[in-house]
Structure formats: C-alpha cells, structure tokens
Amino acid sequence: MANHSNHQSELGLLSAGLDALETQSSTDVTLFKRVLKHAGPILAILFFVGAWQIVFNLKLTPDYVLPSPGQVFTSLKNQYEQGILIPSAWNSLRRGFQGFIFAILIATPIGLLLGVNKNVRLVLKPIITGLQQLPSVAWVPAAIIWFGLSNATIYTVILLGAVPSIANGLSSGIDQIPTQLLKVGKVLGANRWQSIRFIILPASLPGFLGGLEQGWAFAWRSLMAAELIAVSPALGVGLGQLLDVGRQLGDMALVLGAIISIMFVGVLVERVFFSPIRERTLRVRGL
C-alpha cells in the first residue's frame, strides 16, 4: 500500500514537472502595437482632414463643390443646435437596431436549417445567395409600392439586406465545425437537440458573429438607402433624410456632414458592439 501511494506521488511529481515545461507563457503585446491600435486611426483621420484643408486652400473649385472641413463642421453644428442631428442619428440607429434584431430572429433558424440539413441547403442556398448578391436598395421601389411611405417599407428593406448575410454566416460557421467535435457529441451520447445546443451552436459562433457583423453593415446600408428614397413627414427624421435635405438645398457642407455622420455611427457600432464580442470569442478559443 505504501508502495502504491509512493508510486502515485511519483506520477504526480512527474506530471507537475512535465506540465510546467510544456506550458508556454503568453507573450505580451508590445507597447508600440497597443499605441498604434488606438492612436493610429486618429492620426490617419487628422492626416486626411489636413490634406482636405490643403486642397480647399488651393481654391481649385468653388466652396459649394468642395467645402472646407470647418464649413462641414459648422453645418453639423447648426443641425445639432437646431435639434435635428441627434434625433436623426438616434432615429436611424433605433430603426437599424430594431430591424437588425428582427433579422437575427428570422435568419437564425434559417441558417441553422441550412447548416444541419444538406437537402434544405441544396434547395435554398442559391436563393439565399442570390438575395445576398442583390443590393437591397433594389427592393426600395417594390417596398414603396407594397407598403407606401411607411416604417414597413424601411423594415422590409433592412430585413432583405440583413437576413441572407446572417443566415449564410451561421450555415458556413456550421460547415466549418471540425467533424471530430460532432463525433465526440455522438460518443458522449448527445441526442439531436443536445448536439445542436451544446456543440453545433457554440462551435459555429465565430462564423455566426461574422455573419452578424456583415448583416449589420448590410442593414445599415439598406436603411440609409431606404431613408434617402422614402422621404415623408410620417417617417420622421433620420440620417438618410438629412442627406436628402442637403441634396435638395444643394448644400454640399450638409451632404458631406451627413455622410460623415453615417460613417461615424457605423464605425461606432462596430467598435462598441461587434469588435469586443469578436475579440473575446476568438481569444477564448485561442484563435
């Protein structure tokens, strides 16, 4: 018995030594890389704005063709002070998110079905891919004829933009699951539902997140296209409508200001929402 426990502690010691030797310590990201990640984009924007100012100062074109960065800023400031800019941005963002949530609810079961059932995929995949290829702005005229100038038009266009990307992202995430993990599921005795819940869905998360990110980009673009075309007092304000106001007034500073606001909201959502989730997901899996 004493011999037995000696043997065990011998194994324990051997194990501890081996594990210590084989586990590598994680390497720190250099200070330079971290500064570059945060300060780099800001420097690039400053550089771009500086170049813009220089071109403006050369007076190659009249101000109404190319206003200065200052004029664009003033125009946005006016919109802000009149109480238009923030409600417009907020309205657009709210519509975008609501449409996006709907899109997730519709696309997830479709993507799951495409991913786990080969027959469904053979039948439906070309249609989904076709929808994904089609710029969803092409649906705006049809949606206006169906639903008039209403929120239904706007949500229809968002859904048609986002659903195919999200569904495709999930189904390709499922395709990329190593077969070994599915086999483990069977060996563990998982039934169909358990294998979807404990293996297929979590394993496909990186692909699904990619699909969500692309889906959001498509939703946001579709929304802007819809807002730009479907202008009506009933729909209230939005960044797309703001852009249309600038076009009607021939106010290039406002047009550029609206474009910058649309980009800004897009980047903000990516930075605040998607980027942290994506980084965490990949880090946890050692990818």
């Binding site: 051997l14 081996l18 594990d19 070994q180």
Partner: protein, 247 residues
Amino acid sequence: MATANLAVDLSNLSKQFDKKSPVVLDGLSLTVNRGEFVCLLGASGCGKSTLLNILAELDLPTSGSVKVSEPPTLMFQDAALMPWLTAGENIELALRISGYEKSGRKKRAQELLELVHLPASFDKRPHELSGGMRQRVSIARALAQERGILLMDEPFAALDAITRDFLHEELLQIWKQTELTVIFVTHNVREAVRLGQRVLLMSSKPGRFLKEWSINLPEPRRIDAPEVANLASEITDHLRNEIKRHG
C-alpha cells in the same frame, strides 16, 4: 463461462463501405473479458479505426454480429475538446449529457481532473494546455461517462516520447483503479507490449486478426525493459512480413 463476463463479443464481423470498394474488415471474431486491456496492432489500412467506430456504434458492420455489454466510449488521437469550454467545463458537459445530477457536476469534474493529475487546470482553456495535458482532459472526459468500456484510437500517437511514457503509466494506473475494459489501437509495437495484457496483430487490406500474444511480463513494465524489447522485436518481425506481402 457465461457471457456475462464478456465486455465485447465479435463474431465473423465484416465491413465493406460499398459494393465496389475493397473489403475493409474480413471475418473478425474476438471476445474481450470485462476489465481486460487489449491492444490491437496493425499497419495503415488494417481497418483499426473502422473497427472502433463499429464498436462505438458510430458505424454498422456489413455482416456478422457485434455484442457489447454496454455502449463504449471512444478517444481519438486528437483530444477533440470543445475549444470554447474550459477543461473543467468539457468534463461537466460529458457529465451533463450522461444525466449526472447538476449539483455534483463541478465537484466530480474536479475529482476527475485530479485523477489525471491536473488538479489546477479546471479553468484552463484547451489552447492553454499542452498536447499531453489535453489528452489527459480527454481521458477524464471519457471516465466521466462511466461507460466501463474505453476504446482508444492511437490516443498518444501525436505526443513526444517523454509525455507518451508518462501517459502510459497514468493510463495503467487508472485502469488498475477502475474496472475499465480497454481496447487500445496503435501502430507502435512497443506501446502495445508495454500496455496490453493481450496484443492482437491485424493484417491490412483486408483487416483480419493474424496472431495473438498474451503478455505475461512483470509489472510495472518499462518501455525500455529487455523483456518488452524482446517480445516487441518478435512481433515486429510478424508485422514486417505482413507489410512485405503488399509490396
């Protein structure tokens, strides 16, 4: 003796994936007693993995009969841990699917990690562990299922010799502590002699059992012991003759 003592009973088992493809397994008959440690040895193409898949009920035989006393669990060369779960959660998942009561899962998972000498790895992700440590978590996960029959498909083939030697010792220790039946597939002759109570040599294309050795060497065996080396070289000669036949 009554069949109650048998863990595995194969009779005239054959496998052919479809009618035009070659026969993979040809008329295998084998009985394995409960608690036995059997090594299946063979070169590439002997259908070792196919046989384990059939035993694990992942695949069906074309003809013949397979009887197992209970559904076995299966381990692969790759630990195949879920990369989004920690080591402990991977074991908890196996417990959960096996219907282990929720309140005791965490404690049981930690006990199993201690059994494979990984007491401090509960919260580590698979990518933070070495290959050997991952394979030990995989052993712990298999034990969590409490299946009684453990099938191992070249589980240590991708590991370095030092780690493999340690895992041999650990596996034998676990086997002695439990009443596990182990069927261990390998193409490493010394590994088979080091571990098994019985070694079965398989032919390739089609897979058949060629010859069988009962190992009666003193315990604990070391992989570099002269007795192990002698028997291994005898088996290697048979294996080489079998391989030459295909040239």
